[in-house]
């Protein structure tokens, strides 16, 4: 989530002298004009160009620059767009960051470049070093440009902590179906002439519903609160599902491919889950369970008990919430689950050679038959996954493929668009499925099949 507020209401003085509302830019411009002596440099930290700057990026960068200025001499300029500039003796940029006896022997530009290395597809280098006076004109132009532009104001405290409980309380009070989405995962390239085979329908919470609450937009940076909210939602889903069996609604476990529930280990070993299993057995319906990597890491004993219970009940267990970074830094294969769900990121297509090796090793440790690529929202994700040996996919691109199949097969589809069909399939609340004259088809284009195989 972007933690920057939009262009603020401009102060009345904007139409007067820029010096009144842009002291950093003005001071930088003046200091650059005065800097004619050799042996000085400008270190520019380009935080304003980052696609998703976090408050700690600026805070830590500022602290490192201040520390350097204090130790070696120099001046730090904080600009309105988020950029930071250190004017300092060139030699100080070659000195180790930390004081002895411990700490990094790295120089400040290298450390900042490493800390702020771009993620995803951001093309901008995080730091520049402009030696003076050679780069004086460049620095002057940069400072003038910063002074001229309106800029954005970074928030140093992105999470309005007092608002979070309000958002949660409001979200928890909403009707359950309004808080949920249902997304189908598929097997691609299966035998028997079926190219796309629905595997399961995962029930997730709808982030939009949460973020629509006052303060809800601040949820993302607080993973603990998100986990708390998810746990409350799990309780409600577990309590509701037995009553949904054979009611042919979006949450009916008996009406299509197995439903997959996101649960914490403690929920799997709790009484509500046992009640659900009993009800499912009575009606011959199947489910799967997804436990996030963070829940498994937080409660290893509970996870082992949950895994054992699920094995006994022949319920497939999926580890989800595995980011590309988590795939490289952790060992999800050690959890011995039936499947591991990797979250797609465009970064996967642009890994360094070392990262590619680590990713390949991690994927091989899990095995292609146990991998699911989630968040496959674009064709690029599908192509990357297929090249890596994935056969199981989930994401908006997959949703569109399924919707296209439904439109082709549905005799009521004349007035429907691809987008409408896709959104209706995601909806759990009846209102979200309004307009569909063949709601049973929203559960999947192919005939129902057994649990994920």
């Amino acid at each position: 989530m972007n933690t920057w507020i939009g262009r603020p209401a401009l102060p009345p003085t904007l139409h007067g002298d820029p010096a009144d509302y842009a002291p950093g830019e003005r001071q930088l411009l003046e200091a650059t004009r005065r800097s004619t002596a050799p042996g000085w440099s400008a270190l520019v930290v380009h935080l304003g160009d980052r696609a998703a700057p976090k408050p700690h990026h600026r805070r830590i960068a500022r602290s490192l620059l201040d520390d350097s200025a204090q130790r070696h001499g120099g001046q730090v300029f904080a600009l309105r767009n988020g950029d930071l500039v250190l004017l300092c003796p060139s030699a100080s940029l070659r000195a180790p960051v930390a004081t002895r006896p411990a700490g990094s022997s790295e120089a400040l530009p290298a450390l900042l470049a490493r800390l702020l290395r771009p993620e995803g597809s951001e093309p901008v280098a995080p730091v520049s070093v402009w030696p003076l006076p050679d780069s004086r004109e460049r620095l002057l132009a940069y400072a003038a440009e910063r002074l001229a532009d309106g800029g954005l104001t970074p928030l140093d405290h992105a999470v309005a902590e007092t608002e979070l409980p309000i958002a949660l309380a409001a979200a928890e009070a909403r009707l359950l179906p309004d808080l949920l989405h249902r997304q189908t995962a598929v097997l691609i390239g299966g035998g028997g002439g079926v190219r796309i085979q629905p595997l399961f329908r995962e029930i997730t919470y709808a982030e939009a519903a949460l973020q629509a609450q006052p303060g809800g937009e601040a949820m993302e940076p607080d993973p603990f609160m998100v986990r708390h909210f998810a746990a409350r939602l799990e309780e409600r889903v577990l309590a509701a599902l037995p009553g949904e069996i054979n009611r042919h609604g979006a949450l009916d476990p008996a009406s299509g491919p197995p439903l997959h529930l996101n649960l914490a280990p403690a929920s799997v070993t709790g009484a509500a889950f046992a009640d659900l299993l009993a009800a499912l057995r009575t009606h011959g319906a199947a489910i799967g369970v997804e436990i996030s990597l963070v829940e498994a890491a937080a409660d290893p004993d509970g996870f082992a008990q949950a895994r054992s219970l699920l094995r006994e009940a022949a319920i497939p267990l999926v580890i989800d919430g595995v980011s590309p970074l988590a795939l490289r830094l952790t060992a999800p294969a050690a959890l011995a689950a039936d499947f591991v769900k990797l979250d797609w990121s465009p970064r996967l297509a642009r890994l360094t050679a070392a990262e590619q090796r680590e990713t390949r090793l991690a994927l091989d440790a899990i095995g292609a038959d146990r991998l699911i690529l989630a968040g496959a929202d674009h064709e690029e994700a599908l192509q990357w996954g297929l090249l890596q040996g994935f056969r199981r996919f989930q994401g908006r691109h997959v949703d569109a493929m399924l919707a296209a199949g439904r439109l082709a097969a549905c005799r009521h589809a004349a007035g429907c668009t691809l987008r409408q069909c896709g959104e209706r399939a995601l909806a759990v609340a009846p209102a979200g499925r309004l307009g569909c004259l063949a709601p049973a088809m929203l559960d999947g284009t192919a005939p129902p099949r057994g649990p994920l195989q």
């Binding site: 700690h56 805070r59 004081t99 411990a102 949660l168 708390h228 890491a297 290893p300």
Partner: protein, 389 residues
Amino acid sequence: MSTAIARRELAPDLARGGSPEEARRLATLIRDCEASGIARHVLLLRLSELPDGRTRPHHFTLAREALLPLTGAARAQLFELPNQDLVVVWRGETAALATSLATIEHLFSDDPAFGTDPMGIAAVLALPDDAELLLQAVEESLRPRQPPPPPRSPGLPLDPATLQALERAIAQADMSRFARREPVCRPWPEGFRLAWERRYLSDTELFDTILPERAPRADPWLFRRLTRTLDRRMLALLSASEELRGVPPFSIDLNIGNLIGPEFLRFDANLPAALRGRVVINLRAEDIVADLATFCFARDFAAARGYRLLLEDMTAEQIALLPPEKLGLDLVQLRYTPIIATAALPASLAPETVILSRADTAGAIAWGRAQGIALFQGRAAQPSSRGAR
């Protein structure tokens, strides 16, 4: 000298407990080992500490059957103490120990009454080193049983509104009276020496004081969130002038968010030069996994400022999931359990990076030292001098 009871028949009334004579025979054996230096292994199963509702005859039968493989070990003797605790003493290494422990764990691991530590009732000890601890257990078994205290209400879990109020209260309360220190020690020929102190706020005492009717840990994620506020208060305490003058090296528990927060920057700015490079930051596994990108940022920043990062309270299973070398961490705190003592240190761990926690017995220390571990935390690892090395 006591009588050997290899593969002794199960008593018909298992919940009744053994006789005082049997306890005295065990005490004699312990003292003999202590006097003569004869080495024996011991498994103490504290059935007297079984949770309420888990003290039916079949629980005792199953627990006792779990010990049967051990009674086949060399010179094995089984003692049943008056308070129903079971003790097996034997000579030499035996694979049966792992079998028995695995059976005990299997018996209780699915039982929520045991909480997160189903093996808390089992202790693997060594004679003569643990003679004092074992004699204490015998003595306790001979005392008349006190009526159990009335069960304390488990309390309601936190909810977001209470959490918010609690965060405000903690932000304003005097926290210095909840500040505690716990030594991390290095074995030395003459005893243990302090390596560093863990400095922390006792959340148990704090919550008992300001929110006795609630169970803050019942909602693990709201509790994690609450620890952020505690972190900030701890950092504020440590940033006070003179607080760190002349103190030994120390460690603090921090959430990742606080390691890159303004309070930490103030703490870092006030850190005396003598402590730079000698402060350890304790991190939790779930906090790291919750946001790996931010963890990597915080790790690199902390390393650049000379802090060492420790992965706190890990089991062997967690280490398999979160290999410390992949995460780029300096130290791992490994939780000692009787189960872990039946195996070698996980191969992915370098012994010099490990702190063995819950080292409450000489057996734990012996196992750790045999694995090459040089840092210990627990009741059996108390410093004989305050000087940190």
